[in-house]
Symmetry: C2
Subunit: 221 residues, 2 copies
DNA sequence: AAAAAATACCGTCAAAACACCTTTTTATTA
DNA sequence: TAATAAAAAGGTGTTTTGACGGTATTTTTT
């Protein structure tokens, strides 16, 4: 019998029963081994110091003390090579996006089938990420929306394309003169755009313009 | 023989040969029918007015006159129900993100196999999106990065309390003189803070300060 | 206690930003 | 095609910003 190089998995979840069940399940897969468990992020940070560093962490999102989001951020910063699979009861878009932002490489629901868990683990270890239809649709939808705010605001305060373009450039370190050059317009015209926006938006400085643009998603900071 | 409700597909690409080939291929699939073709975005906008509105548009990214991004944006705004499958020669992250931002529901490379095209079309029409491993990895990677800069910069540039307070005020419409008053300091001192931050952050205008503060969560827009 | 380093402060000046008001050019449409 | 609206460009003056080259005071280090 050949010795197999198993993938070490740590479990972080505040529900003891579920956690134990998961540990058993994972260790029942040939290639995986549950090395240790923790109740929450704080507990996990303590335990990772006195245990071998896992290859992968199965991380619950909703936990007391320190939640999955904060834990993932900490992990990404401290052990960037440890891969994270998020585990959650909910499939809402914000949770998913937040966890991926925080460094997760996959996201599965707690009521998934064992074989989906296995598939997720395999995919993360081989491809570097796991992507279900659930995640894809939310991800694509969320990226799709990024651009929408622009058009919304356009209608609210009715800004034309030139003004939008000007606003974007006003959020850079260019001077108005440079912006004028870039837009093939006279500096006076830019002056006009600025003054009109000041009027329309009830502001009076370039900083005001920048904050407006950021707040309304016209520039993505 | 039952009449089949076919999905109408429009093709937008400046390469005539490729376009014709695609049209043939698509019409060879039972469920799809290529209704019309266009050379570029401008041409497409003209033609959509005198043709039946397609269910799906196969849209090239790199085109003269009006490129895929602009065309997708226009489509999303004007015919939000028309689904877009982006077609590109390149697999770079920015292109992919840009197209999804602009409303695409799928992204395939020009050198894909016919059966992948078929799969993409089917997936977009049934699930609403098509997601290859290529797209997933770029999407996840791009979302992963969102959070990175934040934590990195906070450590690289350690700012003291006064600088933080100044930065927050610099994001308002106050002049430096007014900021000085509010902080019970001489305007010259504020000048000093500003210059030091310029130096530290490698920027040279107040707009730069504002964008830095926003990007790093020092002010919540 | 001397040296070093932050910290707060100062003057000048040119460039950029802002205000206000006018004229030309380009589109629109009646 | 004349009337009109809208976009672009111009003139002039004030205020704010940013660059540069400094000094006095406090705090930290040695």
């Amino acid at each position: 019998m050949k010795p197999i190089e198993k993938t070490n998995v740590a479990l972080v979840d505040d529900h003891v029963l579920l956690r134990n069940g998961l540990a058993g399940l994972i260790s029942s897969f040939d290639e995986y081994h549950a090395i240790f468990e923790a109740d929450n992020g704080r507990d996990f940070i303590d335990k990772i110091k006195t245990n071998p560093v896992p290859d992968l962490v199965l991380l619950d999102i909703n936990m007391p003390e320190m939640d999955g989001y904060a834990t993932a951020q900490w992990l990404k910063q401290t052990y960037p090579l440890v891969r994270i699979l998020a585990l959650s009861m909910y499939d809402n878009e914000t949770s998913i996006i937040r966890m991926f932002k925080a460094g997760a490489r996959g996201y599965i629901l707690k009521d998934s089938e064992p074989r989906e868990l296995k598939k997720a683990l395999d995919s993360i270890m081989s491809k570097g990420f796991y992507n279900s239809d659930l995640v894809s649709s939310k991800l694509i939808h969320s990226i799709n929306k990024l651009d929408d705010k622009e058009s919304e605001v356009k209608q609210l305060v009715d800004l034309n394309d030139r003004e939008i373009q000007f606003l974007k450039l006003a959020c850079t370190e260019m001077t108005y003169k440079e912006i004028a050059e870039k837009m093939f317009l006279s500096p006076r015209t830019i002056d006009g755009y600025r003054d009109e926006l000041f009027e329309k938006l009830g502001i009076s400085t370039r900083v005001g313009l920048v904050m407006f643009a950021v707040r309304n998603g016209i520039v993505i900071p």
